[in-house]
């Protein structure tokens, strides 16, 4: 089977970045995320292929934090609107984990199904090749398996790599993956290798039946208690690989400008504030509840799977220690019969 020796990893990344913009997990200063391999600085950046999850997910590669939609000129008497978007260059995301790959599958559901296709997203998605990195040693905050994600078989992968110690097994899954294999040529060796064994998860989330049970828990006093410490800072939505909610805003100067979309967060009160002042989710508790119900119930009702892939980033990032695993388990264990 094709094997990629870790000693050749930089040669491989150099080779892959010849024909596409290549994104790899890097630690850079105080941050870590998926950065262009072309921007890699020997000495200050650190390649993070062996880390489970970098701080920021790779979602911006298929769904940028800000994205121009169209430009316009004119002040009203004549208006011209011209669709614009960054020309989607071929891209490779190298080394993302099963949770992040599954989150991109959630984006595919949102942006490409249910009547309308988001052509900005589709253009990027079509030009993206995914080299996913199978996981065998779940981290302290990992719970992907509980959310229906198989860490050893990432979905949406064009290639799966599996760590065997001093090398990776290279398993191409699609035509796009085959193209990468061909481009690597002799950098891939042919050897026998054995996949590692999946180790037990440290976090135990019990999501089974939770989406269904939540239908009857909208008014549960649990939400008030859980939301009481939430600062509605929105960091959970920013670090989340599957949070996709966006705003549409305008930038203008003189008689021209452009409209763009950018990440938004359901934790902010402006998110649902209507002209005239009415706000259906004006308080923190309502927004908190909506976020968790969107993740654990509403998305599941609409698309047949939760909008949480168990990466654990929000658990790490939350300044007040709100923990989605605890919330899932609390719902699971809640005795709703006494309240009904």
């Amino acid at each position: 089977m094709p094997i990629l020796s870790k000693s050749k990893i930089k040669d491989v990344l150099n080779q892959l970045s010849q024909n596409a913009e290549l994104f790899v997990p890097l630690a850079r200063g105080d941050e870590s995320g998926f950065y262009s391999w072309n921007s890699y600085q020997e000495g200050s950046d650190r390649l993070m292929l062996d880390a489970l999850n970098v701080l920021l997910p790779p979602k911006s590669i298929v769904f940028p934090q800000t994205e121009r939609m169209y430009s316009f000129t004119g002040n009203g008497t004549t208006v011209e609107i011209k669709e614009t978007f960054e020309s989607p260059q071929p891209r490779i995301i190298f080394g993302l984990r099963a949770c992040d790959a599954a989150a991109i599958a959630c984006f595919d559901d949102v942006f490409l199904t249910m009547g309308f296709v988001d052509s900005f997203y589709q253009a990027r998605r079509d030009n993206t090749t995914i080299v996913a990195h199978a996981c065998y040693q779940p981290g302290a905050n990992c719970f992907c398996e509980a959310m229906g994600v198989d860490p050893t078989e990432p979905v949406n992968a064009d290639v799966i790599i599996r760590d065997t110690g001093d090398s990776y097994i290279w398993e191409s899954k699609t035509d796009k993956g085959e193209k990468l294999s061909a481009a690597l040529g002799a950098l891939l060796e042919n050897k026998e290798a054995k996949s590692p064994q999946l180790q037990p998860f440290k976090q135990q989330a019990n999501y089974e039946g939770v989406a269904e049970k939540l239908k009857g828990m909208f008014e549960d006093p649990m939400w008030e208690e859980l939301a009481s410490t939430c600062q509605t800072c929105g960091i959970c939505t920013y670090v989340c690989p599957s949070c996709y909610c966006f705003d549409i805003q305008v930038k203008s100067w003189g008689d021209e400008g452009y409209r763009f979309r950018c990440y938004d967060s359901c934790m902010y009160s402006e998110y649902t504030l209507m002209a005239g002042g009415h706000n259906p989710r004006s308080n923190e508790q309502e927004r908190f509840r909506n976020r968790f119900l969107h993740k654990l119930q509403f998305f599941s009702e609409r698309y047949g799977k939760p909008l949480c892939t168990g990466c654990g980033r929000c658990i790490v990032a939350c300044p007040v220690g709100i923990n989605i695993v605890q919330i899932i388990n609390q719902v699971k264990e809640a005795d709703t019969s006494v309240r009904a």
Partner: protein
């Protein structure tokens, strides 16, 4: 960044329209009649569907299309409530806007065929119902008796006065009931709130569909009245409002439960509404 035309139809990019007429409906509601540059409508709408109106560079807002006149124009009746609508109320005929759509499910015009129709509206809530009312008049033989109950704060705040007082009462088998909140000089019509007036008129539930739109508090009491009068949840239809950005069920904010008001709504019957979390 390279800039180029996309070959695909992009539902997030508006087309340009020209405002061909503006009419004052009330002190804070204006009607805007728009058509594509060079003529025609930017898109066809069914009653109750939405259009996203872009006033460049100020902002975009989602409005129910109050009427599509053939291939001539789209009519939006828009209340001045915020930043964008304040600016919009300042434009003049000839101004060019962006419009994208149509969005949303619209009213169930087919399922209502053969039924008597009861339209209940308050304030600007008549704007979305008007498209359905006019549709019924246009296809008069498809619908039974038509009753319209409409209320506003004052006479001045009643929208579409020429239709309310002149045109609609003359339509075949049609009754128009109008009320204002407080007595005022020169008004000899009904005074009082819509829910109370509805109970006073007491239109029988049999064979009828009630379509309700207005301020949240009016909707709440009208729904209670209709229930008291024997209307089933399937006989009552309403149209919801939430903040919207994309219009195609993707940007997230207009959800009530798992439903996106811009895409799955804005029209729901009461049976469907009761399935949703009480956030509407």
């Amino acid at each position: 960044m390279s800039e180029h035309k996309c070959n695909c139809e992009n539902p997030l990019v508006p087309g340009v329209v020209e405002v061909i007429d503006i009419k004052d409906e009330t002190p804070d509601v204006k009607s805007f009649f728009v058509r594509s540059i060079g003529g025609g409508v930017p898109f066809d709408v069914m009653p109750g569907q939405l259009g996203m109106v872009s006033l460049l560079p100020v902002g975009e807002g989602m409005y129910s299309v109050s009427w599509q006149e053939e291939q001539e124009y789209l009519h939006f009746a828009i209340k001045r409530v915020g930043l964008m609508t304040n600016e919009l109320h300042r434009i003049e005929v000839g101004h060019q806007l962006g419009v994208r759509g149509p969005y949303g499910n619209g009213f169930p015009v087919e399922e209502c065929k053969g039924k008597d129709m009861l339209f209940i509206a308050g304030g600007i809530g008549l704007a979305p119902l008007r498209s359905f009312i006019k549709y019924c008049f246009k296809h008069r033989q498809d619908y039974g008796k038509i009753q319209i109950i409409y209320g506003s704060r004052s006479y001045a705040d009643l929208c579409f006065k020429d239709e309310l007082f002149e045109k609609w009462p003359q339509e075949k088998d049609t009754e128009v009931y109008i009320t204002i909140d407080n007595p005022e000089e020169g008004w000899d019509g009904h005074v009082g709130f819509v829910p109370a007036y509805l109970e006073e008129i007491n239109p029988a539930a049999a064979g009828k569909i009630a379509v309700v739109c207005g301020p949240p508090v009016m909707i709440k009491f009208v729904l209670q009245s209709l229930e008291k009068m024997g209307y089933t949840d399937e006989q009552v239809i309403s149209t919801l409002e939430m903040r919207m950005k994309c219009g195609i069920g993707k940007c997230g904010r207009c959800n009530v439960g798992s439903q996106y008001i811009c895409l799955d709504g804005p029209v729901f019957n009461l049976a469907q509404l009761k399935q949703l979390p009480p956030e509407w």
